[in-house]
């Protein structure tokens, strides 16, 4: 669907969300159902490169998010939930309104301390600390998530996909643990995924074959959270008309470590992953490759007043762990070395003006273009290594 066809729908959804007054809010939750939603608008300015629209030396207003979320429990052991999402993010995301996820969760074993269940449908994918609620601005540590781990570039892969997950949770003296284990068919078919995995948009179709996902989470009594996520996905390419690529395959694996320590009003978070990425059988124009990516960040959040929070983050991303500077890549391809890495230092401020309204400001200083959104910066050679970006965001919820 095109953006223009959807713009009517999206403004309808947006105005609908904003029209819901707190007086209505009483009707939005009951013992067996709950409806909630949000709408957020961002402003982005940057130097040297674009991020989500024409932000370079100007202001982009093309970062909008709105969602309507509902959950219903027809039976004690059955929960249905889903979310409709509107999202605009520059040239990278013009899809407008979409069904974010729609799942049924059958909790076939329930005691006061332990639950086991099976969720199926278009299910939310577990990936690190923030992925499952990545489009809900209030749940993110900043306006943007750390791009190394949560790459908005290939977000379609990580969102939700048809499949099923077995899950369980238990709370004991040693803390609370939960796990998820499942199989899905992820969505590889989007221009931004083409950009990040095949270098540029391609005429053919990249299709997800199947993916295994697993996550273990342990919340210790010491206010510590430890988490391990594993993902293993494969995709097949079907060449399009006059395509230089042959029918190749890609393979993606990642083991992501997450740790968070909460100390009074301070929250320290780190996540580390080495995604492995292989391409094979694409023919002479995309030689077989095996690459180990390195992605990590360190983040501190400080609630210095009940409604104010300061965030500082350092985020690193290397497209090839064995060629961090990108020199080998530049020598082999003649393309700029800075596309192989990105180091981002971020300072952010959050103000929860009221329980329903959040205002945020954020500044990024970035060295490298490793996760720069391709569709917003189509001319490879005009991308610049060092760039700054500021963002403002207002987010409303009910």
């Amino acid at each position: 669907m095109t953006a223009s066809r959807l713009s009517g729908w999206s403004s309808l959804l947006l105005s609908g969300l904003l029209a819901i007054s707190p007086a209505w809010a009483d009707e939005l939750a009951g013992p067996r159902y709950h409806i909630q939603g949000f709408a957020a608008q961002g402003l982005i300015g940057s130097t040297n490169n674009n991020f989500f629209g024409n932000s370079r030396d100007g202001v982009s207003t093309e970062f909008t998010e709105a969602g309507l979320h509902g959950t219903w429990q027809p039976l004690d052991a059955m929960r249905l939930s889903g979310q409709v999402l509107y999202r605009r993010a520059g040239a990278s995301d013009k899809d407008g309104v979409r069904v974010d996820y729609a799942q049924a969760d059958w909790q076939f074993y329930q005691t006061t301390t332990t639950q086991l269940g099976l969720k199926f449908g278009k299910v939310k994918l577990p990936y690190g600390l923030y992925n499952e609620t990545r489009d809900v601005p209030f749940t993110r540590p900043g306006i943007l998530l750390p791009q190394s781990v949560y790459v908005d570039n290939s977000r379609d892969l990580l969102l939700a996909a048809p499949g099923a997950f077995l899950h369980g949770a238990s709370v004991q003296k040693y803390g609370a643990t939960d796990f998820l284990l499942g199989w899905v068919r992820p969505d590889f078919d989007s221009p931004s995924v083409d950009y990040s995995f095949l270098g540029t948009t391609r005429p053919g179709k990249l299709k997800g074959k199947g993916a295994l996902g697993a996550r273990l989470r342990w919340d210790l009594p010491t206010d510590t959270t430890l988490m391990l996520t594993y993902a293993n996905a494969t995709g097949d390419y079907t060449p399009g008309n006059a395509d230089v690529l042959r029918a190749g395959n890609i393979h993606f694996r990642n083991l992501l470590f997450s740790a968070q320590q909460r100390l009074d009003t301070l929250t320290l978070t780190a996540e580390y992953g080495e995604p492995r990425f292989d391409t094979a059988n694409f023919g002479p124009f995309l030689p077989n490759s095996h690459r180990v990516i390195q992605a990590a960040y360190l983040q501190g959040e400080w609630r210095f007043l009940p409604a104010w929070e300061l965030m500082l983050r350092h985020d690193i991303f290397y497209r090839d762990k064995h060629d961090k500077s990108g020199r080998q890549f530049a020598a082999a391809t003649g393309l700029p070395a800075h596309s192989m890495f990105a180091r981002d230092t971020t300072l952010g401020l959050r103000w929860d003006t009221t329980p329903n309204l959040m205002l945020r400001a954020e500044f990024h200083h970035v060295d490298g273009t490793g996760w720069l959104p391709g569709p917003d910066n189509p001319v490879f050679l005009s991308r610049e290594q060092r760039w700054n970006m500021w963002l403002l965001q207002a987010a409303y919820r009910f």
Binding site: H34, Q83, Q110, F138, E309, P355
Partner: protein, 141 residues
């Protein structure tokens, strides 16, 4: 000098009276809940959506006041030992991912009592540890 001391005492007394910290915060439940007392850890598990059933296997329905309500702030900090914004983080993570329902938010203590009275499996809190008609008050272990 005595005047100053008197003023100081009055100030201390006033702050104690005005402070929203409910030394005797009341945990209230619907009368069909078959428990008489509750441990802090159990209460914390219920309010962080980890315990979803009462011991008789009936589902728990959790009620809360708005995040910035002084009674909620005091309950979160003094009873649960959690800042209100941390509770909200947990509720958002669990609810928007479809794993659980966020607590039902009510506008004030009167509504809290009315909803807990009317909802089987309901749990909530009030600023005073008092006895109300048709509601059970739980003893904190």
């Amino acid at each position: 000098m005595t005047h100053v001391r008197f003023l100081f005492l009055r100030l201390v007394l006033l702050t104690c009276l005005a402070s929203p910290i409910p030394a005797s915060a009341g945990i209230i439940v619907n009368p069909d809940v078959e428990v008489r007392s509750i441990s802090i850890s159990s209460l914390r598990n219920i309010y962080t959506l980890r315990q979803i059933l009462w011991p008789n296997h009936h589902p728990i329905v959790v009620f809360v006041l708005p995040d910035d309500n002084p009674v909620h702030v005091a309950f979160a900090k003094e009873v649960l030992g959690l800042y209100p914004y941390r509770l909200r983080e947990v509720w958002d993570r669990m609810s928007f991912s479809g794993m659980a329902s966020a607590p039902i938010q009510v506008n004030d203590e009167n509504e809290m009592r009315a909803r807990v009275r009317a909802t089987p499996g309901g749990i909530g809190y009030t600023s005073k540890d008092m006895v109300y008609d048709g509601i059970k008050t739980l003893r904190l272990e």
